[in-house]
Amino acid sequence: METDKLLLYTGVMALVTYLIRMLPLALIRKKIESPLIRSFLYYVPYAVLAAMILPDILYATRSFWSAAAALAVGAGLALRGQKLIVVAIFACLTVFVAELLLGIKL
């Protein structure tokens, strides 16, 4: 593909993505007063992240089962209030070990 075409596509992609991110942050300068919207925005992070984890995490690794094991281990640790880094490391280790046990090659 020619260079200018690559640049054009890349520029369009980047611009659209940037505007989506920038406009609300730049335009909403005041504290929103409406209790309903405030409540809504309070819950948004949890809702967005939960919808992003499920069911995608189950397909993030080379086997459904290694991913499911990581989900269980991660959720268990998080529910016990473990730190982010601990949860992340143990979830990764779980995948690694599970895939060894399942006999998936390195």
Binding site: M1, L6, Y9, T10, G11, V12, M13, A14, V16, T17, Y18, I20, R21, M22, L23, P24, L25, A26, L27, I28, P35, L36, S39, F40, Y42, Y43, V44, P45, Y46, A47, V48, L49, A50, A51, M52, I53, L54, P55, I57, A60, T61, R62, L71, G74, A75, A78, K83, L84, I85, V87, A88, F90, A91, C92, T94, V95, F96, E99, K105, L106
Partner: protein, 243 residues
């Protein structure tokens, strides 16, 4: 609430530190992106430029597909819009968390780094976030997103599969670590998490709705779950809880 210089530094370094695990997770995902971009016939520099200028996963994967297919620009615009519209929800949420140090100029700059993970980290901060924290937290992930793409594009296939598979789960594990501890102490938050998770699975597996793009489906679930909770449990009482 005025931060002093020491607080600025502290915010920045706290951000840097928080960004390290995200950076590690990004290395593996962007590595895959680099490999895929080159496989689709893009030059290495172009893959790196896409990562540096977009800093988004799903949008980029879809984007290079369209580029390789020579799709019209309109299709590129619409695809990015649908896949990435979730960022506007995050950006809106961040606008309520931004403190005074986030002046217009800095909002323009910081907005560039709003990814799922960086948003997640910013939202779990107690109280408001400063621009110092935002720059700190964005720096390592954006750098490693770009670096990983370069490594994948230039030297794809050198990273063992088992390692990539294990690292791929890291970002999801982070999300889990962010949403579940507060959910333990707050019924409304737990409700939101369960509703959104269940809704998202429904959208993936149920007939008809599973044909919606994943970005759009995610927005629908998140908006619905947050809205239900907002109606049932208005936030006054939880406002000072751990956020």
């Amino acid at each position: 609430m005025n931060h002093r210089t020491t607080n600025h530094k502290k915010d920045f370094f706290q951000g840097l530190q928080d960004g390290i695990p995200v950076g590690l997770g990004y290395l593996s995902v962007s590595f895959s992106f680099g490999v895929m971009a080159v496989n689709m016939g893009l030059p290495v520099w172009s893959a790196v430029l896409i990562s540096l200028s977009n800093v988004t996963s799903a949008g980029q994967f879809a984007g290079i597909g369209l580029m390789a297919a020579g799709a019209p620009l309109v299709e590129m615009v619409l695809t990015q819009l649908v896949i990435n519209i979730r960022y506007s929800l995050m950006s809106m949420s961040l606008s309520q968390k931004a403190d005074k140090t986030l002046t217009s100029l800095h909002r323009f700059l910081v907005a560039f780094m709003i990814t799922d993970e960086i948003f997640a980290l910013a939202s779990q901060r107690e109280g408001q976030v400063s621009r110092y924290y935002m720059y700190g937290v964005g720096l390592i992930p954006v750098a490693s997103w770009t670096l990983g793409t370069f490594l994948g594009a230039a030297a794809g296939g050198l990273m063992p599969e088992a390692l990539r598979s294990a690292l791929n789960v890291a970002l999801y594990a982070m999300f889990i670590a962010i949403i579940l501890p507060p959910a333990r102490h707050s019924r409304p938050v737990m409700l939101v998490v369960l509703l959104a998770g269940a809704g998202s699975c429904f959208m993936r597996y149920a007939p008809v709705v599973s044909r919606l793009s994943s970005g759009f489906a995610m927005i629908l679930c998140a908006v619905a779950a947050a809205f239900v909770a907002a109606m049932r449990y208005p936030v006054e009482e939880v406002e000072h809880g751990d956020r």
